[in-house]
Amino acid sequence: MSSNKLTNLSPIIGIFFLITGAILIAGYFTDPASAKPINLYAGSGFALFGLLMCFGGKLLKRGA
């Protein structure tokens, strides 16, 4: 089993949270039932976490 490629799945997890964050933010602006500030804050938090999962590893490697 080629473990290097197999184990590098944090971007996939990141993409999930980016999409979830985007859905929450989009819902805040488009769906009246979802137009609550908490959706905007949580959506932004999710998106930020998603970005961190996608690119955090690369940034750490560059820093090292």
Binding site: M1, T7, I13, I15, A26, G27, S34, G43, F49
Partner: protein, 554 residues
Amino acid sequence: MQLHVTDYLIIAAYFAFVIAVGFLIKKKIHTSNDFLNSSRSIPLWITSLAFISANLGAQEVLGMVASGAKYGIMTVHFYWVGAIFAMVFLGIFMMPFYYGSKARSVPEYLFLRFDEKTRALNAVTFAVMTVFSSGISLYALAKLLEVILHWDFNLSILIAAGIVMAYTFLGGLTSAVYNEVLQFFLIVLGLSPLVIVALQDAGGWDNIKTQLAPQFTHAWKYLGDTADNPMGIHYSSLLFGLGFVMSFGYWCTDFLVVQRAMIARNLNSARQTPIMAAIPKLFMPLIVVLPGVIAITLMHPSLAAKGYSIPQAADGGRDYTMTLPSLIAHYYPNGLLGVGITALIASFMSGMAGNVTAFNSVFTYDIYQAYIAKGKPDRHYLFIGKFITVAGVLFSIGTAYIAKSFNNINDFLQLVFSFVNGPLFATFLLGMFWKRTTSHGAFSGLLGGTIAAAITHGLTIAEGKGGWISPAFTIGSGMAQAFIVAGVSWIANFVITIIVSLFTTPKPDEALKGLVYSLTPKAATEEKLVWWKRPAPIGWLLIGLTLLLNWIFF
């Protein structure tokens, strides 16, 4: 609770991603070792989060919030007395034997250390327990979705089981482990906003302490007398029953969690896995205990204007199990509601997938390969592993319907599991740290401990349960009864194993190298690592932090 398109989109995204993970990993699965054991190739951060997530099933999430509401801050004992010490012990003292012996499962370690009959007893009971646990998870998920969202029970069972089957069949253990990591983040991030908003609504921790009886906000102060605390427990049975027997029995011997550490890339990572997992575990009460304490505070007359109440059960009392779903419904608008529901679904599916992957490993290695078909080519075992994954999910569906038909079967099964699990840690403790322990001693101790558990339960009665031999002793709560049953069964196993071992012949020292503490040389490489990469210093630091938290919430 009414879901909108935003909520459905989030749930659909989650389902799509867990299956996508299965498809991505499928390409890398070539051997039975890849499928059942991840070829011991998983990095430390993944094994650590999977280790904690395998335990973060629905029973844990819903159950701990419910206990928080019922017993208050005392529920943290499951973490700060139970889990942390056992996880640190596993990492420092036990993983070298599990990992170093090259055993592929916990029952296989028992085979190497003792003999076939001890392995068979452990493998068969574990396999049966995991299938039933998986089915109960499935039943509880479908029941919850039926109650809160009015979704069709049968459809919920089929969808949840189908998704778990898809990703475990495609990617085996690796797929389950990666999805557990996704589920961990989803549960933590999905429930964090709830804690923040609800805590603010309850007036913060200071107001909670003012509104609630002091027994609900002190972890230790009222444990001197069983009549003084809502759990009806004395600190001695808490420390021994929960802190030692039950927690060490679960965290150190249950293959479902230990398996996550056994697939790490090397011995040091395997040892670090439970210790790294203990860091988030230390703070998990913020997510799963605090909401329960907040819920009970919100029901105080002074906070009636907040409009929250724990739902009523059929008997007119409070349905504590519904505390978390009712908090989600109360505080989350559409959008976050979808996240909250997805987090609940994730916790159920995580529990089920963990059971299915542990079941297929134990069945394939410890039952099929050991007794049914030895010496077959690897592709045969890969096929069996996949076949058993499907069979495990189908058995779980069957168990879910059995649980639906017989109301009391969940209680009954949990009881039988506790009879079997309670004494198990004594077998491992003696097996790993006393070279004189014999195979006959271990087997007799296990059987004797299980029988002692059943007898103790038959002689004690708590909340109307037990006392089926004679209700000779009344105990304050079901939880206290569980601690006492576990304690007695452990002592029985410990004593019987020692007595029988002293009258039977042990294995020669040569056969026990790498399996017993006194006969295993300490790894020299560990000494060269910086302190924060070694399990022991981090473990001791965590124990210090745990003691500090216990002192703060004394």
